[in-house]
């Protein structure tokens, strides 16, 4: 009697187990193909990743302000190089339609930095030296990484593609690059506020669109 009961339980268990299994074949693993890398777009504003951006209805409100002017960057850097010929590394660079701000690292002294402001009126202001605690090599980058043509092409292209959006404060700062490495970061602002934050490689290729959750 007891054998009958336990036998039934055992058989039922086997049936349940038998009906509740799955298999996976290693042959499927051999069929996996190598993922490819994204191609470089013909122009920064034609980056495929920009298709992730969804423009919203602003009920006729236009851009809240003028776009940042990338042509200022080249002028600012030229003025700065004239003042600081041995300039090598920068930790931060951003600009709007009138000004360019930089944080430069004193040559040969990694722990000293200076704030720099360049105005469209061609005035250059270099601040006092600040001591930077344990500055990491990763947090700064060579001034040569700043490709003025690339950022110009990107900003101008975006301005053409999204005429009702303000391109605000493009910024090159490792700490604000979401672990993407050194990337341009800029906000796109429409009549309702910040539409998205976009990230771009130094060559202007857009790599990520942060449009909120």
């Amino acid at each position: 009697m007891i054998w009958t009961r336990w036998g039934s339980i055992g058989l039922a268990t086997l049936v349940l187990v038998g009906c509740n299994t799955a298999t996976a074949s290693f042959d499927d693993t051999r069929e996996i193909e190598a993922p490819r890398f994204a191609p470089v777009p013909p122009a920064p504003a034609e980056s495929p990743q920009l298709d992730a951006l969804v423009v919203r209805d602003t009920a006729g409100f236009g851009a809240p302000g003028p776009n940042a002017d990338p042509t200022l960057v080249g002028e600012a850097l030229a003025a700065l190089r004239a003042q600081v010929p041995r300039l090598e590394r920068v930790s931060d660079l951003y600009f709007d339609d009138e000004n360019v701000w930089l944080t430069i690292v004193e040559p040969n002294t990694r722990n000293l930095s200076r704030s720099v402001l360049w105005l469209r009126s061609s005035d250059l202001y270099i601040g006092e030296e600040d001591y930077v605690e344990e500055a990491e090599e990763n947090s700064t980058y060579p001034i040569s990484d700043v490709d003025v043509d690339a950022i110009t092409a990107l900003v101008d292209g975006l301005a053409l593609r999204y005429p009702s959006v303000q391109i605000d404060l493009p910024r090159l700062d490792v700490g604000l690059s979401y672990d993407l490495g050194l990337s341009w970061r800029m906000d796109l602002v429409d009549g309702r506020g910040t539409l998205a934050t976009i990230f771009a490689d130094l060559d202007g290729t857009i790599t990520a669109v942060d449009q909120g959750s």
């Binding site: 038998g18 009906c19 799955a22 693993t29 996996i32 993922p35 672990d179 993407l180 990520a208 959750s213």
Partner: protein, 522 residues
């Protein structure tokens, strides 16, 4: 023993051999089988390519296995960019998250920077999610994809690079890990318990990414001076969570199952061979092992019925014989029937009304009585005595005698049911459990194996017990002594009045072929 009688046992062994054979074939295959598959996530395929400059292109395919529409969350490791879902560029809030509506399958692709680091002795690819599952191959799949159930799923993966010579890699979070370094990729397959996350660290040759950064971009990554240090430190920190997948791994479970089934089958083979050999050896004995004590063989060694003696002795020894004839002579010897000689060979056999006999004798008498009526008188002349029904009488008498011999523990089934049936059942059940219930052969063998065993037992027949063997030897000795009497050879059925009991047993032991022929069915 008749060789044909071995065939059913051989067939049973061949049928049962399919179980270990299947188990070994399964053990040789690098497939995985898992229980409690997750409804809503049939499998995950992960792949990545390492570029010479240290970027990674990652693709993750979630196969939901159903048509349900799901709002799925995507969590990305650090340094992820170019996020696409199902081929479409997708926003990534904070660079680490995404939301997407998915159905049937979800394909997530992105590139990653910072996870490939170059050292003097190689390149480390870091997908270690031991401390932070966001940095793993993918975060908990079940948790973020909008799947309500709980269960396991399978993960197939491949890491591609230009050079994988001597590459090592370790996987964490997978059961039944199968790996291979082939066709330019480190390929792996495993079961993802709870459809959670899985980690990987790979140590590739410098040629795989000669231009990769020399500093890891993964937050809180384990760092070191060399790739070897990072590799060792990562595996140590994981505290056993990583399995070094570099060497091709032997699937322990399937091999153990195949070994167990093979051992069971071999034991069964040994047992069946032993039983068949014992049975054959006993029946092949022409002469008793022990020297005959001639003083002891001058009279019947026991009071066994002639038909039972016929079962024990069989055809061993010289001379024609008949159990039916011996049974009739036994009836005549005790006066239950009457055999009157017409001449030295011909006779009249009379069965008086109300004549009865034991179970053996009744088998014979019932055939000779007119319409089987006990109250009738039958007077028959012979030889020949039997018509068409003679053969069936012979068979019926043999069956009754064999049953009696079994009851007397002189015979036993050559293959006993209490071994063969449970063994067949257990092999099927073990194969069934080992296969997780997915083997159709195991199901079939569990149900059919015991039936095949019963058929084999029945067809293989019986063999002598030790007691039966001793009895047979004594009767063979008695038969030998009877054959020394030349007169018995020619005595016909009517001689029962003169010879009495010795003629009865001589008829079944081959010592009285004339009497056997005149009363027998042949």
């Amino acid at each position: 023993m008749n060789a044909v009688r071995r065939v059913p046992a051989v067939v049973l062994l061949i049928v049962l051999a399919l179980l270990p054979l299947q188990a070994w074939l399964q053990a040789g295959r690098p497939d995985v089988r898992y229980s409690q598959p997750l409804d809503g996530l049939a499998g995950i395929t992960w792949s990545a390519t390492v570029s010479p400059d240290g970027r990674l292109s990652v693709s993750i395919v979630y196969d939901f296995g159903d048509e349900q529409v799901r709002d799925s969350s995507i969590r990305l490791p650090s340094g992820s960019r170019f996020l696409r879902t199902d081929g479409k560029p997708t926003p990534a809030p904070s660079g680490r998250f995404g939301e997407v509506r998915a159905q049937d399958t979800l394909v997530v692709t992105y590139e990653r920077v910072g996870a490939v680091t170059r050292y003097s002795d190689g390149v480390i690819v870091d997908f270690d999610g031991t401390e932070n599952s966001d940095q793993a191959l993918f975060p908990c799949a079940r948790c973020y994809l909008g799947i309500d159930e709980y269960g396991n799923t399978a993960l197939s993966g491949a890491l591609f690079a230009d050079d994988l010579t001597g590459a090592r890699f370790a996987i964490g979070g997978l059961d039944q890990l199968r790996t291979e370094n082939v066709d330019g990729a480190l390929r792996f397959l495993g079961v993802l318990p709870g459809a959670d996350d899985a980690s990987m660290i790979a140590w590739l040759p410098l040629a795989a990414a000669p231009d990769a950064p020399t500093r890891s971009g993964v937050p809180e990554a384990i760092r070191g001076e060399t790739a070897a240090q990072v590799w060792d430190a990562t595996l140590t920190a994981a505290d056993g969570a990583f399995v070094d997948a570099t060497e091709r791994r032997v699937p322990v479970g399937p091999v153990a199952l195949a070994s167990m089934l093979s051992a069971m089958w071999l034991l069964l083979v040994a047992w069946i061979v032993w039983r068949l050999v014992i049975a054959a050896r006993v029946l092949n004995v022409e002469q008793p092992d022990a020297p005959i004590e001639w003083d002891a063989v001058f009279s019947p060694p026991s009071d066994l019925e002639p038909a039972v003696v016929a079962v024990l002795v069989g055809d061993t020894g010289r001379g024609a014989r008949s159990a039916v004839a011996a049974t009739l002579l036994a009836l005549a010897e005790r006066g239950a029937i009457q055999i009157d000689g017409i001449d030295s060979q011909r006779y009249t056999l009379t069965i008086p009304p109300g004549a009865t006999g034991n179970q053996f004798e009744e088998v014979v008498l019932s055939e000779l009585r007119p319409q089987g009526q006990r109250t009738s008188t039958a007077t028959l002349t012979g030889p020949p005595l039997w018509g068409a029904g003679g053969a069936s009488v012979e068979r019926s008498l043999a069956i009754v005698a064999e049953n009696a011999a079994r009851t007397a523990q002189l015979l036993r089934a050559t293959l006993t049911a209490w071994v063969l049936v449970p063994a067949s059942l257990v092999m099927g059940v073990v194969a069934l459990i080992g296969s997780g219930g997915s083997s159709r052969l195991a199901w079939a063998m569990t149900l059919v194996g015991p039936l095949v065993a019963v058929v084999a037992i029945w067809l293989t027949g019986t063999s002598l017990t030790a007691k039966g063997r001793a009895e047979r030897e004594r009767w063979l000795a008695y038969g030998s002594w009877l054959r020394t009497n030349s007169q018995l050879h020619d005595v016909g059925a009517p001689g029962i009045a003169t010879w009495g009991e010795p003629l009865v047993y001589a008829t079944v032991l081959g010592a009285a072929p004339t009497a056997a022929g005149s009363l027998g069915t042949g």
